[in-house]
């Protein structure tokens, strides 16, 4: 297996191409089989690879061919496989397989069934290339590949204008980050002469000292790329709108895999970031700020998918926080557990939406506990993991992050406290979702319950979300070891108890309504603050006025081609003179003669009146 890891991304790619070419001629069952089986085979192969890796701990480097060769620049189509790659591949193929299976039922009635699976398979292939790439250029290929697939899938129901708008927004906003990242790659290449990640990090350590400015600039540019892809401040606005796509797509691309690509990128180039401590602080601050901002916003949303979207932004903020404080493996660990429980939550919401005639508003649901038991338990477990209740997977990963953040000198306790506030909010909004949707009065009647193709992925993900915390991810060789010291016990106790407090608050407010917040919510301050949070801190509004509208204005201005107007003036002037002069060509001899005589008289008069001496 270890010699042929390139097969793993190839299979979904082949399936995608086949679906694109012959999809319209295949039967629906065959399409579903092809789409699911290709990812399933990849998942199996990854499993085999994982077992081998556990036995011999062997890093695999595999070069297929040279992509291009120009003046010493020779990136190869080459793959690199170590513990970090394994974790990412397992998440992509494993969770990807479950989501594909879920999709076969969710998208059953859709006329573009083949197109959907073609895109989804292509996405898996591109994402695998991203995490398996040995050099940054191939990584960038996968990076752009997943961007394209995200665009195609967000705008999957392109018949509605709003969906196309959301797709374009997702594409353009991430493109801003990608451009900065491309600049970062160019800088790294000009400085170090290679883009092979391992060689590059080695060369960087020999060339630069800690705190030099060039690695700082390169890291900041890479951060820009990661921020765009992972929907962090200030480029996070595309993710909530990206929920316009089918729900399984949101689960796969916008929760489990693609949006964590930024986290992977920073973790993969951590050797570079260790040379630029300022850049790491920037990552941590971006992470915690995003995390809090998104958590506050999620508190006020009413669309079930937007709640989950903001929660994703918030959780990726935690991962960034982990990377920023040097808790690399904790960040990757949270990436994995988050993939489990967030995919679970998204698939659960997909099941609800599927069974409730595409209802998105949580206040129109209610009382679904008894009527959709599988979904209810998925949501319970997913929300518990999301809120990091003890013994769930999210607890282990988030706890690690918070404790390691606390140990950072200077900033540490501040980051820890902000992280705790975020954890409190996370617990409140996730259980608000559960209590509102599954308890209380029933407002809508589901017309069906989930079929087995939905129930199986949900159950497997439930299991993973519960026990994911006990996995040992094999990244010890990849990252520098942490010092292993533990903060004081009280820090740990506080970290554990905060989510429970959040659960209690949510219980009192949204379940037995002992705590009435109507008065607070209806006061002027509460109302304006609530609206502010509902709108996502007005950032969309700000960008709209700062960038989008001026751009439209400029485009409108340029639509009338003002520069061409200048040349048009020259043309108009020429035509006018042409008119006048061609009118003079009347063909009447007598006119010619008369004008000649008149001209002559004028000339002679002028000459006669000239001061003496001028004509000499």
């Amino acid at each position: 297996m270890s010699e042929t890891i390139w097969v793993i991304p190839l299979i979904p790619l082949l399936s995608s191409v086949m679906l694109m070419l012959f999809g319209s001629r295949l039967k629906i069952t065959h399409i579903g089989f092809l789409g699911v089986a290709s990812v399933g085979i990849s998942a199996l192969l990854t499993l085999v690879l994982a077992v081998e890796f556990m036995q011999n701990q062997q890093i695999i480097q595999e070069s297929l061919w040279t992509w291009m060769e120009v003046a010493g620049f020779a990136p190869g189509i080459s793959f690199y496989f170590d513990g970090l790659t394994l974790v990412m591949m397992s998440v992509i193929t494993g969770v990807g397989f479950l989501i594909h299976l879920f999709s076969t039922e969710f998208m059953e009635k859709d006329p573009s069934y083949a197109r959907y699976f073609a895109y989804l398979n292509m996405f898996v292939a591109a994402m695998l290339v991203l995490v398996m790439a040995d050099n940054l250029l191939l990584l960038y290929l996968g990076w752009e590949g997943v961007g394209v697939c995200s665009y195609l899938l967000v705008g999957f129901w392109y018949q509605h204008n709003a969906n196309g708008q959301a797709a374009r927004k997702a594409f353009i906003v991430t493109r801003i980050g990608d451009t900065a990242m491309a600049l970062g790659l160019l800088l790294l290449f000009t400085e170090l002469g290679t883009l092979d990640i391992q060689a590059m990090v080695g060369a960087a350590n020999q060339t630069w000292q800690i705190g030099d400015s060039i690695p700082l600039i390169a890291c900041l540019l890479i951060i820009c790329g990661a921020v765009g892809k992972s929907a962090q401040l200030p480029l996070h606005t595309w993710l909530p709108d990206a929920m316009a796509g089918p729900t399984p797509v949101s689960a796969l691309i916008h929760a489990a895999t693609m949006v964590t690509a930024g986290v992977y990128l920073i973790a993969r180039t951590h050797g570079l970031f260790l040379l630029a401590p300022t850049a790491m602080t920037v990552v941590a601050v971006i992470g915690i700020a995003t995390s809090l901002m998104a958590a506050f916003t999620a508190l006020m949303q009413t669309d079930i998918k937007r709640i989950l979207a903001y929660s994703t932004i918030s959780q990726i903020g935690y991962m960034f926080l982990a990377l920023g404080v040097g808790a690399w493996s904790a960040g990757i660990f949270h990436l994995m557990t988050h993939a489990f429980f967030k995919a679970l939550l998204f698939l659960g919401s997909g099941a609800i939406i599927h069974c409730l005639h595409h209802e998105h508003n949580i206040f129109k649901m209610g009382g679904l506990r008894t009527r959709m038991p599988v979904t209810f338990w998925s949501f319970m477990i997913g929300s518990a993991a999301l809120a990091a209740l003890p013994m769930t997977s999210g607890f282990f990963s988030k706890d690690q992050i918070l404790l390691q953040a606390y140990q950072l000198p200077d900033l540490g306790p501040g980051l820890w406290m902000a992280g705790l506030l975020g954890a409190l909010l996370t617990a409140i909004y996730s259980f608000r979702l559960v209590f509102v949707v599954f308890f209380g009065e029933a407002n809508t009647e589901p017309d069906k319950d989930t079929g087995w193709r939905m129930a199986v992925p949900l159950s497997v993900l439930c299991f993973l979300a519960m026990i994911g915390g006990y996995f040992m991810i094999p990244v010890a060789e990849v990252f520098p070891a942490s010092d292993g010291s533990h903060p004081a016990h009280w820090v740990e106790y506080v970290s554990i108890s905060v989510p429970l407090v959040g659960l209690l608050v949510a219980y009192l407010v949204f379940f037995n309504r002992r705590l009435n917040i109507d008065g607070l919510a209806n006061s002027t301050v509460g109302k304006s603050l609530g609206n502010f949070w509902l709108s996502g801190w007005g950032i969309d509004w700000l960008y709209d006025h700062l960038f989008v509208r001026p751009y439209y204005g400029l485009a409108n201005l340029l639509k009338s081609e003002p520069v061409d107007g200048i040349y048009g003036l020259i043309v108009a002037l020429n035509q006018t003179f042409n008119h006048w002069l061609s009118a003079a060509q009347s063909g009447r001899m007598r006119w010619y003669l008369a004008s000649m005589v008149a001209g002559l008289i004028i000339l002679i008069t002028l000459a006669a009146n000239l001061p003496t001496g001028v004509l000499q």
């Binding site: 061609s582 060509q585 063909g587 009447r588 001899m589 007598r590 003669l593 005589v597």
Partner: protein, 104 residues
């Protein structure tokens, strides 16, 4: 020189008067015949000025040029009358303003 001693200025005045009359005729007449005649008047006005100048400075050049002008005028009339005939044939009129088909 003996005989009539007319001052040069007077002759030149007559000459320019003739020239102006000819030119005016050229400008306001439409009939080609009259135009040709006006041209003739203008040529002769110039010729008169030459002769007068030649007489004044007692040089033969003035009369030589007069001979030249006479020849040119004869040739011009020959060609001009030929054209007049053609115009009459084609347009059934001698009005110059109707013969402006080459208007640009």
């Amino acid at each position: 020189m003996d005989g009539l001693n007319i001052p040069l200025n007077h002759i030149l005045l007559v000459s320019s008067l003739l020239f102006a009359i000819g030119m005016l005729g050229l400008m306001i007449r439409r009939n080609i015949i009259f135009i040709l005649m006006s041209l003739e008047v203008m040529l002769n006005a110039a010729a008169l000025a030459f002769v007068a100048a030649g007489a004044h400075w007692e040089q033969p050049d003035g009369q030589v040029v007069f001979m030249l002008i006479l020849t040119v005028a004869a040739a011009e009339v020959a060609v001009g009358l030929g054209l007049v005939l053609q115009v009459q044939k084609r347009f059934k009129t001698l009005d110059m303003d109707h013969a402006n088909r080459m208007q640009g």
